[in-house]
Amino acid sequence: MTITTSTESGTGVPLRPDALLQVRNLRKHFPITQGILFKRQVGAVKAVDGITFDIANGETLGLVGESGCGKSTAGRTIAKLLEPTSGNIIFNGADITGYSRSQMRPLRSEMQMIFQDPFSSLNPRHTVGTIVGAPYRVQGSLSDKDIKTRVQGLLERVGLNPEHYNRYPHEFSGGQRQRIGVARAIALQPKLIICDEPVSALDVSIQAQVVNLLEDLQSEFGIAYIFVAHDLSVVRHISDRVAVMYLGQIMELADRDTLYSQPRHPYTHSLLSAVPLPDPDSGSRRERILLTGDLPSPINPPSGCVFHTRCWKAQDRCKVEVPLVREISAGHQIACHFPEDRPVFGQGGQTIHGPAPTDQELAAQERDRDLARGGAVTGENIAHETELGWQKRQD
């Protein structure tokens, strides 16, 4: 199957035809419906609203942003756990956007997922052997004995005792459970693993163990990762390139060093300046940008630049004109009318405040919250348990 990969969709972003995964203008809107017998749509949660990026083989793309900005939804949609609303997902040369579940099944060996919560993402009634061996059983080409040998090899590889083949998830600590999830994900030697906050629920010391494991596996098997996290320092450590998301859109995308040392988007600056550093004197050396309020509701995102309600550089133009994603230097894309030039932690000392939300904005937010509460927000989960592991619930 051939794909036309011209610079479609009006984003002035050059594409990499050799990429393992190409995501084009991907949208995922969750409809909000009201009514008992006849449902009518009264709005939509615009969880992912037009994102475009590529991932090459063996590369890690970090996805950061505040909670609710659509990172997990993006990951799940790319894995086709959720049906995309529009846009394209091109994996390994094939446009899988419209693939049915059965069409996806052979692809599951190439694209896997690891979830955040090591407590709810493993089926408590299955043994470790069953959980990690599930991908083989779905494939159906190996005998039980071979599966066991393979699974024990995998357990050993991720740093678990192969003797624990017959134990249940609750007998393991959080970090060990996350290793079980990793073992399952790498069972079929996938080309891409979407990691949704894989270390966020773990303690720092354990977090480092799992991060190292993921890096080792990457260099051993050449796996590409989409690494979703809200911890900017972990993302810097593990990623080759990083995309910063806000309200379902990518604000800035650049290679790791550029993004962390010369960020250009005001939102990236605010995020970086909010990270507390383990250095008591850093406060006086660093400029602080304090945003006001919370993320607006993704039901009715602000007009123009979605960040303008909290942006410390916002001007009138930002309220009306949507900033298009553009490449400001090779591989560095931002969506902002007024890119920032200052060094990353500023000159030091002073504090910059973002604008306070207007009464109008507050009222609108309240309306949206009511809407989301009154109506039923529906999101279908279209994958099957054994394909990507067990999920207690969607979050």
């Binding site: 009201q34 008992i36 509460r373 009154g374």
Partner: protein
Amino acid sequence: MVRYIIRRLLGALAVLFIVSLVTFGLFMVVPVMTGASPAYLYAGKNPSPELIANIEHGLGLDKPIPEQFYMYMKGIVAGRTDLTDGTADGSRPCPAPCFGYSFRYQSPVWDIIKDRFPVTLSITVGAAIIWLSLGIGVGVLSALRRGGFADRASMVFILLFLSLPSYLFAILLLYVFVYGLKWLPPTQYVPLTESPVKWFQALILAWITIGFGSAALYARLTRANMLETMSEDYIRTAVAKGLPRKTVVRKHAMRAALTPILTIAGLDIAFLLGGAIFVEKVFSLPGLGLLFVEAIGKQDLPVIMGLTIVSSLFIVVANIIVDVLYSAVDPRVRLS
């Protein structure tokens, strides 16, 4: 809110309509189709074909089925005058709400139900008071004194009444208090308006039978809910604010823990209002349950149908009441 209730009531009407349709089909149409016309039930031994035809005519069974159903539904709303038993005495009056005419009781079904309902209502109210106060009381107490003597004692109570079959318990009560100790006269139901004392004497054993059995269940539920609520973070917050324990338990814990229990109670009460078959039988209380048993014995189809529809009405209405109450207590639930 008002719009919500109206919508729910319309929904309830739809449910009742479907229930009527199904009952009607089950009791009136299916027998006719299988060749066992209900008319045979009323015609005595070896009836002549004319007699059957006459009775069928009187019951309206000779009309097309949709029309029969239409007449039945219309009867509920507007009453009907077309009912005869096909014999000489002619038409049977049946004012609205008309659930048909019972040839066994020689009376419109609704009158019979109206007559018997106060008995069932008395049983239900008394039993509900016992099981709610006892069940919730025991449950809350044992949750607050978890592991203590009160908790263990209440566990024994719960286990005993959950495992003791209620028919055994009822018969035991009957033999001990009526035939053994003779504290109570052999039961003979007397309306409250006639003699409160005799009314009470007639009902107390039925109340205890139902009340204690359900109390055990409610105690277990309450205990579990209370324990869960007491370990909620907001209870810890309430304690950390410096509230007295009494306030924490009553205002913060019980309100959250008991809300789901009241929901269940609403439905249980509605269910019981449809007739406590077993208890009414054991204690010879002429309520809707006993009526149901009698009607089945006599194969009195109009009564069985009437009772079925009326008890589903209770359940449907209770459902609405419970939902509205729930939303009044829990602001997170929105009715729309």
